[in-house]
Every structure is written in C-alpha cells, then in structure tokens.
C-alpha cells in the first residue's frame, strides 16, 4: 500500500483491468480527462451560479422589490429555477467524479496519481479564464 510504478492495475470496475503498457497509457489518458472534467464541472457550477444571480434581480425588478416574502419563493422565477436544476446536476457530477478520482488514486499506482494531478492542473489552467468571461 505504497506508491509504485507499474503497468498492471485494476481501476474502479473489475472490467477495467490493465496489464499492458498501452492499456496503462490509455488509462492514464482517461484519468487525465476525468480530472480535467472535474475542474470543468467545478467551474461550470460557478458560472451557472453567476448566471442565476444575474437572472434573479432582473425578474425581481418587475415584481415588487419591497416585499421580502417574494424573494424567498423561487417558484415564480422559472428561468432562475432551471439554472438551479442545472447547478444541481453539475453538483452531482462533481460529487461522483470527485469520489471516482479518489478511488482511482487509491489504487496507489503512481502513473494514475500523476495523471490525476496533471489533469487537475491542466483543467484549472484551461478552464479558469472562462470564469472571468462569465
């Protein structure tokens, strides 16, 4: 149960059984992509939250801004509500991907670990500028 470099590993599912260098390269690529996707989903959630907040005051201005009870009822704002549904889906995806990455790294294969780290770095580097654009 310490890190090791090897091209044999079993990842997450019993059919994902790697025992060749090419298979290892493919697995490393898949883990890298999953890691990039995790960062993208995280950023997508933030972007959706910003859009939802931008959508909220506009619809409020048509209603009575003074009534605080209206603010607590999201049912009258369908656009905002759909943003929220999207955010929820993103959140579930983020939770599942996060746990998957954790379990993959738990295989203690150093290649997989490096792939996860590199993917996270790459994903953050590529996706972060999107947040500013909103």
């Amino acid at each position: 149960m310490t890190f090791y470099f090897s091209d044999t590993v079993v990842l997450l599912f019993d059919f994902w059984n790697v025992h060749s260098p090419t298979g290892m390269v493919l697995s490393v690529l898949v883990i890298l992509l999953l890691s990039v996707l995790y960062e993208a989903v995280k950023m997508g959630k933030a972007v959706l939250l910003r859009r939802a907040l931008l959508a909220l005051p506009r619809s409020l201005s048509h209603e009575a801004l003074t009534d605080p009870s209206l603010m607590a009822l999201p049912l009258s704002f369908p656009r905002w509500f759909w943003f929220h549904v999207g955010q929820t889906l993103f959140h579930v995806l983020q939770v599942v991907l996060g746990y998957m990455m954790m379990l993959a790294v738990m295989s203690y294969n150093a290649w997989i670990f490096l792939a996860a780290i590199a993917g996270s770095t790459l994903g953050y580097f590529m996706v972060y500028p999107l947040l500013g654009r909103g």
Partner: protein, 252 residues
C-alpha cells in the same frame, strides 16, 4: 473461515503473519483517502472554509483512532478462541482464505446486498431489506451534509452582516476609525458565532468522512445513495444560498 487473531499487541509485533497485513494497510489506505477527499472538499466548498485549516488533521487523527479501534474490535470479535500466536501461523495461512475475504475490501464496484460492512462492525448489511434501510439512511445523511454546508455559509454571512451593522454606529465621522473597529470586531476569536461555526465545522468534517468511507465500500447501491442524496440536498437547500447571496449583494 475464521482466522484466529490475537488482539492488538501481538498483532502489531507480528511481522510474519500475512493475514493481518490487509487490515493494517486498509487503515493506512483509509487515512490517505481521507486526506485526498478533504482536498476535494476544500476545493468544492470554496467559500466559507476560512476557519478550516486546523480541523482536518485533528479530526483525521480522531477518525483514524476510531477506525483502528473498530478494526481491532472486528478482529477480536471474529474469533472466540485465542491460540498462541506461534501456533496459529500455519493454520491461518492454510484456512486463511475465508478470513482474508472477510477482512479484505472489494476494490472494484459491485452490486451486492450480502455481507456489506457499513462504518461500524455492528452494522453489517446482509439482506435486501437492510440494504434498503441503509440506502435511505445514507441518502438522508448526504442530504443533511449538503444542508449543513449551506447552513454554515448562511450563518457566516449573517454574522458578518451583523458585525458590519454593529460597527456602523460606533465610530465618529472619521472613516479610518470605522475601518478599524470593523476589523477588530471581525477578528474576535472567542465569539458565539465563531464557536458555533467551529462546532458545526466538526460535525461537517465527521459527516463528510463518514460519507467518504461509505463510498469506499465500493457498493453500487450505497454509492448511488451518496450521490443522489448530495444532489437532492443541493437542490432543496442551495436555492436559499443563492437568494441570500443576492440579498447581501444588494446590501453592499
């Protein structure tokens, strides 16, 4: 089926016994995993984690201790008879496969309702009905976790807002004095909101580690329960977060 294992002292000094290695390494594995998931949690929660630097190591030690205790309990409970350790080496390696299976965790995803250990040694799932109960319990635990995260954020905002309002009337017309009082009020360590935040933080860390350990069982049903609970909790609690954020942004 059962491996005869001496309790703790001989276990740790015993270097030859192959059977015991899995349980020990599982403990270290669990610790590693916890650290990793902690990073993920930090990245995921983002805001509201200002006061969360000292927590993980302390709690990690705590959970680790309990896990160690748990595994020892499991070991000692599996075998009523205690043989001298020298005598038991051949027997445990010979009949050790069953015990090995019992102690060893699955390392890939599977859907089964039999013999699924759930956090504690007393909580072993053996029937579909029990699995359904565990599914519901885990679902609500994950929902509770999401609600707690949002509640902590709301409380933090509320306390910050009240601090700001408290500091408003105190200073005179000078603007620099206003900033000063605001800072001193904001950095109080022994205040009620901060203590409440700390207690809630402890609960949150414990629950998140529990959820992670549940996911670590690789049981498909329980993993689905965790994900579905997180999604449902986020759906039902997070709209409040957005509204609160919006209100505070109006106040700015």
């Amino acid at each position: 089926m059962r491996s005869s294992v001496e309790p703790t002292a001989s276990e740790q000094s015993c270097s030859v016994c192959r059977l015991l290695l899995p349980s020990h390494s599982i403990d270290s594995t669990a610790k590693q995993k916890r650290d990793w998931a902690w990073d993920h949690e930090l990245g995921a929660s983002g805001a509201g984690s200002a006061s969360s630097t000292a927590g993980p190591t302390f709690l990690c030690a705590f959970v680790n201790l309990s896990v160690l205790k748990m595994s020892h309990h499991m070991n000692s409970s599996t075998l009523p008879t205690s043989h001298p350790p020298e005598h038991q080496h051949p027997t445990s390696t010979a009949s050790g496969h069953g015990g090995h299976d019992m102690m060893m965790m699955a390392m890939t995803f599977h859907f089964s309702c039999e013999n699924v250990p759930l956090l504690f040694s007393g909580l072993t799932i053996n029937s579909p009905g029990e699995m359904a109960g565990a599914f519901v319990a885990v679902f609500f635990l994950a929902m509770f976790y999401e609600g707690l995260k949002i509640a902590r954020e709301c409380l933090l905002r509320k306390s910050q807002v009240s601090i700001r309002y408290n500091s408003m009337p105190v200073p005179g017309p000078n603007g620099t004095i206003l900033m000063e009082t605001h800072k001193t009020v904001g950095q109080q360590m022994l205040s009620l909101p901060h203590l409440l935040q700390t207690v809630l933080h402890i609960i949150q860390v414990v629950v998140s580690y529990f959820l992670m350990l549940i996911f670590m069982t690789y049981n498909g049903y329980l993993c689905i329960a965790v994900a579905a609970g997180a999604g449902t909790g986020y759906f039902f609690f997070s709209w409040k977060k957005a509204v609160v954020v919006d209100i505070t942004e109006h106040c700015h």
